[in-house]
Amino acid sequence: MSFTDNIETIFETIDKDNLSAVRESALSSFKTLGLPSARHEEWKYTHIKTKLPETLRLVASQESQVASKLKYFNSIKGTKLVFINGVFSAESSVIIDQSGLTVGSLKELSSQHEAIFTKHFNKATDISKENFAALNTAFAQDGAFIYVKKNTIVEAPVFVFHIYDHASADIFTQSRNLIVVEENADITIVEDFQNNNGEKFYNHVSEVFIGQNAEVNYSLLQLHNQHTTSVNYVEARLEKDARYHITTVTLDGKLVRNNINAYMDGENSLATLNGLYIGKEANHIDNHILVDHRVPNCNSHQVYKGVLDDQSTGVFNGKIFVQKDAQKTNAYQSSKAVLLSDEASMNSKPQLEIFADDVKCSHGAAIGQMSKNELFYLLARGIDKETARGILTYAFANEIIAAVKLPELRTYLDDKLKEKLNITI
């Protein structure tokens, strides 16, 4: 039995808003697609079907005190949006006003900014192909709405906290962000998922629209995630001269699937996609990256690094598409993973699909262990083996963290990384 069996009954119970037409088509698309089996090429290494709850329960009771349990929350400055079990909590959130910036709950703000909402909602995802994006579109009720008007430089970073705190182990939260950044605007967004206790499931979709010459710095943190099974989509569309930098940091997770997709719609746009993942115990971390070069003169740069210990599994699938007209594309992709244990495994599929001739595309993938020479060098200087390994692993992983632009976040992640790797330097 799977939750797809009673999906229609559940659909009847959700709030009927002005989206019902979109929701219905998403539902019918999900019914056609179903849940991906192991034979599905994109889910070859991630067998999610049996890992999901048997029924689809969406709503969890909300406790107002949970926000105080949020890690990292108090120590940082900026706009903080808090979602508890997928529902916006106004009392826990802190919003720093700035003209030209609208932030808050998607559910509340969508009617106030209807024109923006209808223009962009569900325009970056492909619900006819993506199983979980379709499911999300059919059922998602709330999430962050961030709208930056043109020429606005957002001064304080915007933090979006998702905290999962309910006691029941069968709630499958569906949440949805809509981020619209107009021309010449600039914003830094940090999204943090935290699971406080026990088994949790969530399916989260973010749509990001980056206008002409605008810049978005996006960080996606999955640090406190131990018993979480999650599917994440970040779908970004870039217009002319747009700049987009996204970093995902996954330090934990029972089963994590990230779909990070960037569509280069405008010429001369730039996307950098970085990621770090550290798997321990039975963690399963799957990063699916897609960069679609649709127009000429765009640049993209991907660097993904992973450390896998114990029985953990890593999956990397990086796709670069260069469409027919996308001449003068410059695309780079690198995936590196280190296996620390005999039970750990890594599946890597770096993929290039090129239909234009005047391009420069390259990718490299490496899977291995720490260099013996480097290890020997440290040992020769009197450092014990374990510490030396820790130092090397840290040095390997730190490349991604060091590229994070927001200084406070960088320090925080650096500490987290050291904690995770058990090193004190």
Partner: protein, 481 residues
């Protein structure tokens, strides 16, 4: 350079050089496929009962299977009931010298550019010539026999050496492995059988020229090469086929077995008819090639130059089971006009200290699609496995596509796996440099592309390397802007 010019000019002016049909009387199986066809083939070949059973099991298996659809190629559905599964030249000539051979057949040799008498002088190549599924002539058999080497048609091996065939046939590529291997197992007509006994180093390059000749005849070749302990063999396979409008199916199976310290080198130059400039006609080449390094320190090396066929779909693979065994794959795949190629390799590391190396060079021009698809799998048992893969694609036009689908599946921490891929066009600075020195664009491209493929060509035996270079020039004809 001037010599190269002549060669190039010669080939550019020609269409498909090897496109001709020879009229030789043939014996054919009725069109279509059912158990009776399988029985007919088995009977025609005077096969023992066990072989027929083996074929029938494979056929029943095939009936249950579905055509694979995951490849990155597109073609109309194949009607397996409209194919003739067996055609044999009517008279089986058994001549001592070439002079007695049917003159028409000799004409075929001439058109192929096969050096008749020169063969004996040239590099000592023994040729087992397969004219439409039937071995016609075998030379140098005596020399080989002295060494205890068996090099014969597989149908002969089934009759003469049933124990060897029984032991190894289907041991590397089981009939149920995939749709086309099941089909091949049921209806294979002929192919080569090579057995190198313990400690023997095969003194010459063994080669077979395959040729599809009868209209509407699918070619289902079966090759089995066994190298016992400390033995070595180098095997060459090359193909040409007549030009025609109807698509032809070729589904071969090649199995290699290397025991302790044995080495097998398998080289292919494939230039089957790729279809005309509109993409009409051409051969479908769906081949399963796989070798197993069974013994310690064994080595299997695949080298392929793929320039022909409308659709190429093949993954010569190595199962590295023996400790310290080595697998290699060198490939040049050229696609032009409307050709589609989905080719690559699989390296399965099972034994300790196994090493593999993949060098793949894809060149696409015209409206063609060229894909590299490879799998590197390191099992838990494969301590210290090492793999290096390099997949480069060169694009010669703005209407073609180059694709890379590498799969890396690693389950051992001591493994070291590296994959590199690049896609680009020929640098304008390179062209400019050549132009400055008085080379035309076409000459420059030819030179640059040959240099780009050198790493693979140098793996080929000498005569093959020359042929490969010529082929490359013919295949790229018209793709230079």
């Amino acid at each position: 350079m001037s010599e190269q010019d002549t060669i190039l000019g010669e080939h550019i002016s020609s269409d498909y050089k090897y496109g001709f049909i020879t009229d030789i009387e043939q014996e054919k199986a009725p069109i279509g496929l059912n158990e009776d066809t399988v029985r007919y083939i088995s009977c025609r070949k005077n096969e023992p009962e066990w072989m027929l059973e083996w074929r029938l099991t494979a056929f029943r298996q095939w009936l249950k299977m579905k055509q694979p659809e995951w490849q990155n190629v597109h073609f109309p559905n194949i009607d397996f009931q409209s194919i003739i599964y067996y055609a044999a030249t009517k008279k089986k000539p058994q001549y001592a010298s070439l002079d007695e051979v049917d003159p028409e057949l000799l004409a075929v040799y001439d058109k192929l550019g096969l050096p008749k008498e020169e063969q004996k002088l040239l590099a000592g190549v023994a040729v087992d010539f397969v004219m439409d599924s039937e071995s016609v002539i075998t030379t140098f058999k005596e020399t080989l026999k002295e060494k205890g080497i068996i090099f014969c048609a597989i149908s002969e091996a089934i009759r003469e050496y049933p124990d060897l065939v029984k032991q190894y046939l289907g041991s590397v590529v089981p009939p149920r492995d995939n749709y086309y291997s099941a089909l091949n197992s049921a209806v294979f007509s002929d192919g080569s059988f090579v057995f190198i006994p313990k400690g023997v180093r095969c003194p010459m390059e063994l080669s077979t020229y395959f040729r599809i000749n009868a209209q509407n005849t699918g070619q289902f070749e079966r090759t089995l090469i066994i190298c016992e302990d400390n033995a070595y063999v180098s095997y060459l396979e090359g193909c040409t086929a007549p030009m025609r409008d109807e698509n032809q199916l070729h589904a071969a199976v090649v199995e290699l077995v290397a025991m302790d310290n044995a080495e097998i080198k398998y080289s292919t130059v494939q230039n089957w008819y790729p279809g005309d400039k509109e993409g009409k006609g051409g051969i479908y080449n769906f081949v399963t090639k796989r070798g197993i390094c069974k013994g310690i320190n064994s080595k299997i090396s695949w080298t392929q130059v793929e320039t022909g066929s409308a659709i190429t779909w093949k993954y010569p693979s190595c199962i590295l089971k023996g400790e310290n065994s080595i697998g290699e794959f060198y490939s040049v795949a050229v696609t032009n006009n409307y050709q589609q190629a989905d080719t690559g390799t699989k390296m399965i590391h099972i034994g300790k200290n196994t090493r593999s190396r993949i060098v793949s060079k894809g060149i696409s021009g015209g409206h063609s699609q060229n894909s590299y698809r490879g799998l590197v799998q390191v099992h838990k048992t494969a301590e210290n496995a090492y793999n290096f893969s390099q997949c480069d694609s060169l694009l010669l036009g703005d209407k073609c596509g180059a694709h890379t689908f590498p799969y890396l599946e690693i389950k051992n921490k001591s493994a070291q796996v590296e994959h590199e891929a690049t896609t680009s066009k020929i640098g304008e600075d390179l062209l400019f440099y050549c132009n400055q020195r008085g080379l035309s664009n076409e000459e420059a491209v030819d030179m640059i592309v040959n240099g780009y493929c050198k790493e693979v060509f140098k793996q080929l035996p000498m005569e093959f390397a020359v042929e490969a270079q010529k082929l490359l020039s013919i295949s790229l004809e018209g793709s230079v802007g």
